[in-house]
């Protein structure tokens, strides 16, 4: 039963699949796809260039189509949806869970959405509309309204008989929820408690009311933090009147955690985490150009600083050779501080309460690193150019720029955060602007004062 290989689509398998696609042998491809989960098919589709992607998408079992659409990035999803006709789409998504359907609705053509709403019974339509009424990235959009409730005044035996009558439980059910007549949330009873207690035990005695319910408007990231910090597998969701609305399960939370991590990694390079690896060149171009043009603006700013010192450089061209070292090393040192800060802010470990202590630590660290690296740089420059004063100037400029880098690395992300911006996204542009501008200014300024 230990067929780990079955589920591990290694690069070897991907290469085989790629070759099979090249040669047009679709049988092995279909067999491989049938062993994959919808999320794995989603990864596979994302890893294929457009032509092959369409072929593989055509081979996916229609009943998996909806689930696969849930597991690809926005850009890939749009492309896949654009390939399907309305009937296929309706068939693909109409059997999805309400919370999953809600995730997709925005990407579906209006005609398809209407068709699906028409084909739903009233109860499900109401549920869908309720889920859609909550803002994206809140508990309300994460929750599944499908859950099992019981009353507090019955016994284990009564509940077990009810469950046997009811048959199958909603996916990932680990608790039943105890509610009042008015559906107010009172607590929950684990399946583990049900199976380990005598049939005559009143449900009352088994209620766990320790775990707080999640308010429907809680931010999705905060929900994810609660799940991961408290080792929850599921949690009830209530409205402002403590009425039970649904439950959130850990599998959806894992997706949030992964997306959040991807967002941070991609944002620091000015990219959208939904970007398709193979997005059409024109589309990718528009996105990347915006970021690069902003960077070009800041590069001009730094160049204009150098421009102020043209006379100085004219007299000592070695300055032009060495100045990128001072600016670049400031950028590297600042990026390290930035990485620590962005992580700390995301984990809510950094804030106004400890910024002074942090700043002081980073300043001391920068001075120490600056003196060590500045001295090293000074020695190398002395050996290279044989000018002691030049060596002194570059050593001092380096130490100073390390200090600026530390200050910028600590203060820029905190300031952006306070101003309501995403520190992961914009910090690096501001940081390199500071380290370039001040690096050039300090080095060339000191040179003008001491060398010329």
């Amino acid at each position: 039963m230990a067929e780990s290989n079955r589920s591990d689509h290694t690069s070897r398998q991907l290469r085989m699949l790629s070759q099979a696609l090249d040669s047009g042998r679709l049988g092995p491809v279909r067999r491989l796809i049938n062993t994959l989960s919808p999320a794995e098919i989603g990864h596979l589709l994302e890893s294929l260039p457009p032509g092959k992607r369409e072929v593989v998408w055509g081979l996916v079992e229609p009943e998996d189509d909806g689930e696969v659409l849930l597991h690809v990035g926005d850009e890939v999803r749009e492309a896949l949806i654009a390939d399907m006709d309305p009937d296929e789409l309706v068939a693909a998504v109409e059997d999805l869970d309400i919370d999953d359907l809600a995730d997709l609705v925005d990407d579906l053509p209006e005609q398809v959405t209407e068709e699906i709403l028409r084909s739903m019974d009233r109860e499900n339509r109401d549920r869908l509309e309720q889920v859609l009424s909550y803002p994206e990235d809140t508990a309300g959009r994460l929750m599944n309204p499908d859950l099992v409730t019981v009353r507090a005044d019955v016994t284990v035996d009564v509940v077990l008989r009810y469950l046997r009558l009811r048959g199958e439980l909603p996916e990932h059910t680990d608790h039943l929820y105890v509610v009042s007549r008015r559906r107010q949330y009172l607590g929950r009873v684990s399946l583990a408690a049900l199976v380990t207690h005598e049939p005559s035990t009143p449900i009352n005695e088994l209620i766990d009311d320790e775990q707080p319910a999640i308010p429907v408007d809680m931010d999705a990231v905060q929900v994810a933090n609660l799940f991961s910090d408290r080792d929850w597998l599921s949690a009830p969701v209530v409205d402002g009147n403590n009425i039970l609305l649904g439950r959130i399960t850990i599998d959806d939370v894992v997706d949030i955690i992964r997306e959040q991590a991807e967002h941070q990694a991609m944002a620091s390079a000015g990219l959208d985490e939904e970007e398709d690896l193979f997005s059409p060149v024109w589309r990718a171009m528009r996105r990347r150009l915006l970021w690069l043009t902003i960077n070009l603006g800041t590069a001009f700013l730094a160049a204009s600083v150098v421009g102020q010192f043209q006379d100085t450089i004219d007299q000592l061209v070695a300055l032009a050779v060495l100045m990128p070292i001072v600016a670049g090393m400031g950028g590297n040192a600042g990026t390290q501080v930035l990485a620590l800060m962005v992580r700390g802010i995301a984990l809510r470990q950094v804030g106004m309460h400890n910024v002074v202590v942090l700043l002081w630590k980073e300043v001391r660290l920068a001075l120490l690193n600056g003196v060590v690296l500045g001295s090293l740089l000074g020695v190398v420059v002395l050996l290279w150019f044989g000018k002691p004063m030049l060596s002194l100037v570059i050593g001092m400029a380096m130490t100073a720029n390390m200090l600026f880098a530390a200050l910028a690395g600590v203060l820029i992300p905190l300031t952006l955060k306070r101003a309501g911006f995403d520190p992961a996204l914009a910090s690096s542009i501001f940081l390199t602007t500071v380290t370039d501008v001040l690096g050039f200014f300090t080095f060339l300024g000191l040179a003008t004062l001491l060398l010329i």
Copy 2:
């Protein structure tokens, strides 16, 4: 019950806590700590500078100490352990689950480990030694040997009676495992199936043998991918003979996913994800200096390229003003490609099977971006310096460096990966070396040919 605030240690709460610590009022601090889970206390400790950290650590209930130690980074853990005497440590960790204890053992003083081993009964000692015999970052180290097994030839009723006799189930139990007399894994039965079927149903009929068991030597990251791609909440772990050894639950997998994401974010700045926000300056310095010194080496390499063109710069000092723009923009464009590639490699979506298609896409994109940005740059330079040939040279150099950046951004992480290195860690150094060296060379080289 919707006391979300109780569990959300916002920065406001952290500020209050920080103030309470400053004023020495420990009552409110203790009350706040008692509402937090061990993981949340861990986050809190990580966010406090050393002095306050020790005070708060002293206020944590001794029975939570072990769990808290599990939830802090290596560096903070070492510091906390150094503050405890052996008796405290033994008391803190002896009640941990075997898999958690195994995580800590390497960080404990030898004396404490011996004491703990002595205080354990034989069965637990054997289990701990078994878990420790698997390499770190494998399924064997993630699994918990504590699970409930049943036989296939009994009925639901028999199992329920057995469970009632047994009492409490191991934490996060959602399945019972069906094994043969020789403890070979046959499949699993969900608690949900137990409570929804008639007591007379044979366990045989309820066995789910669809989910493959995890081999004990599977890599932890691969385990995490399986859980998240297949929406598993738990999975059995078996050895090469299909003997059931333990089970892995999703809460441990969530920790792996978070650590992996943190590793990627920190590695790209040359940092260790275990780094303490407040690590002692000397310690942080040693770590960061290594990275910065390597970067200094590559900066010298780039400077030496500029050094070859001193005569050219001497004749046209505007080149010195403009050259950082060409090099820097190559770095920015390359970083974007790198971010996409590192994500793709981590998700196993990028490999030899699609590198050619990817490279071709990125090359076209780079040429388009290069022409647009090169033209923009050319116009600005023409307005600034009034030299059409200079404007042409910088436009051409920019386009060329965008191309080099795309090639480097695609090929460097793949090459590092193939050579067995971590692409997240070392890619950025190589990339900026390429874009600096080739950016300076192309710009100053073209200038020498066409302008001087």
